[in-house]
């Protein structure tokens, strides 16, 4: 077997012509450099590239431009065994299948050497037939694997394109249509709730209407929609409810916020006043 053939495939050397031996990284060489370093792993990498005994056999057959149908069994067997001996020398883990194939090749050769019974049964197959069938079958799928590798691959050749889905507007969009009385009812509800959540905090905290404006505006500033009741901090008691309610009324008047509702008796939502929608 020819080591030269193998190393050429591994090293970055392009054969140029007779006078220049090769061009290595753009530099023209006229003879093989004496200190040329062939990485000891190069051969190992090459030999490990075989996908199994059938692959190695196919390589040996193709390398000599032979047809699968016309394998010179003795010659191929000799080469095959040379390769697996090399693999053993290089300590490549040799799958048992490689040895099995060597035995099979030897068996085929010996059967070919046996004289054929003269008038004997036509039934007896050429001892090579089974191997040829397997080689052919393997070659088909080897080719199919190459074909599949050539197909446009998602993430390598083509890239799925997506766009953001429109923001799902699940919240009601109709303006609040009830009159002040309904709003007062809502406030009364909040009041009732404050009774249930009596605070035990003693002491007096001044609540600034101005500050409440700010707080409400800030809460809604990023287009958030808040349920009406949630604007009332439970711990502030009646005073807090009153201040918050006044703040809401004032902001409504100034058209800084708006109230929306899906339908009668549905929750009331508070959000920033949307000029475009109005």
């Amino acid at each position: 077997m020819s080591v030269a053939v193998i190393t050429e495939q591994v090293l970055p050397i392009d054969a140029v012509n007779d006078e220049t031996y090769a061009r290595v990284y753009g530099e023209i060489l006229t003879k093989i450099p004496e200190d040329l370093y062939i990485p000891p792993d190069a051969l190992a990498v090459f030999l490990e590239a075989f996908e199994g005994p059938l692959d190695l056999l196919l390589y040996l057959i193709r390398k000599q431009n032979l047809d699968i149908l016309d394998i010179p069994v003795a010659e191929i067997t000799r080469q095959y065994i040379a390769y697996i001996e090399l693999m053993q020398v290089l300590n490549i883990d040799l799958a048992a299948e490689y040895l099995l194939m060597a035995a099979l090749l030897a068996e085929i050769k010996s059967r070919l050497l046996l004289p054929k019974p003269v008038a004997a049964n036509d039934e007896e197959e050429d001892p090579r037939a089974e191997l040829i069938r397997r080689l052919q079958e393997y070659e088909r799928f080897k080719k199919a694997a190459d074909d599949i590798a050539e197909l446009p691959q998602e993430g390598r050749d083509v890239f799925e394109a997506h766009a953001e889905a429109p923001v799902r507007d699940l919240l009601p969009t109709q303006p609040f249509t009830g009159d002040v009385a309904l709003l007062l009812d809502a406030m009364r509800d909040v009041m009732k709730r404050t009774v249930l959540q009596q605070s035990h905090v003693v002491g007096h905290e001044g609540l600034s209407l101005q500050q409440r404006f700010q707080e409400i505006i800030e809460r809604l500033s990023f287009g958030e929609t808040v349920v009406f009741y949630e604007l009332f901090p439970a711990h502030e008691g009646r005073l807090g409810v009153v201040v918050t309610f006044i703040a809401i009324l004032e902001l409504l008047k100034q058209k800084l916020i708006e109230l929306v509702q899906n339908g009668f008796l549905e929750p009331i939502y508070v959000r920033q006043y949307d000029e475009a929608a109005a």
Partner: protein
């Protein structure tokens, strides 16, 4: 209410873009109300129109096994792929051969794959194929040991922009044993002559 062609096309386009997964015609059909009456046939025609409208764009509307999806055309991958510093893991030959056998011969057992490849199929490869959701167990062969029968999935076809198994590159023709034996004999006869 009959929707205008353009509106329907825009909805289809938007839906395919917004969906994280390819959309089938049925997936698209349910987006329209009953009174907007759109037959599968009409939808298919409009999808065709959309496909031609994209002819000059970097995107193409393709049909893969799971449905329709937009993708950046392969010709732009030299540029687009630079957005990801890590190249996608190259598929090993062992993996490709294994999935090829499963794709063309499904359903198939591991032993049958091994018989064709002539080597043991490593557990790693099978696991890698399962991890990618490219293969599934579709049953068990009723022989001792009840080996699992493997088949490829729609995601496998999607990954290679195929819409069905019939779009796989054709498998090389096999010369049957009869022909092979005859050819061998002929060769032998010729050799004897020379």
């Amino acid at each position: 209410m009959k929707l205008s062609r353009q509106l329907v096309k825009n909805v289809i386009e938007g839906a395919i873009f917004a969906s994280p997964m390819p959309l089938s015609v049925d997936d698209i059909a349910v987006l329209f109300a009953d009174d907007e009456k759109l037959s599968r046939k009409e939808l298919q025609i409009l999808i065709k129109e959309l496909q031609t409208e994209y002819a000059l764009r970097a995107l193409e509307l393709v049909e893969v096994a799971s449905g329709f999806r937009f993708q950046v055309r392969a010709q732009f991958s030299p540029w687009i792929s630079k957005m990801w510093p890590d190249k996608p893991a190259r598929l090993s030959r062992a993996l490709l051969e294994t999935v090829a056998i499963i794709a063309y011969r499904q359903p198939v057992t591991r032993a049958e794959i091994e018989a064709i490849r002539g080597v043991v199929v490593s557990t790693q490869i099978i696991k890698a194929l399962f991890d990618r959701d490219w293969i599934v167990v579709v049953g068990h062969r009723e022989v001792p040991g009840r080996p699992a029968l493997l088949a490829t999935t729609r995601l496998f076809l999607d990954a290679f922009s195929l819409s069905s198994l019939s779009e796989l590159p054709p498998l090389a023709a096999v010369r049957d044993l009869e022909t092979i034996s005859r050819e061998i004999e002929n060769i032998a006869v010729e050799q004897q002559k020379t």
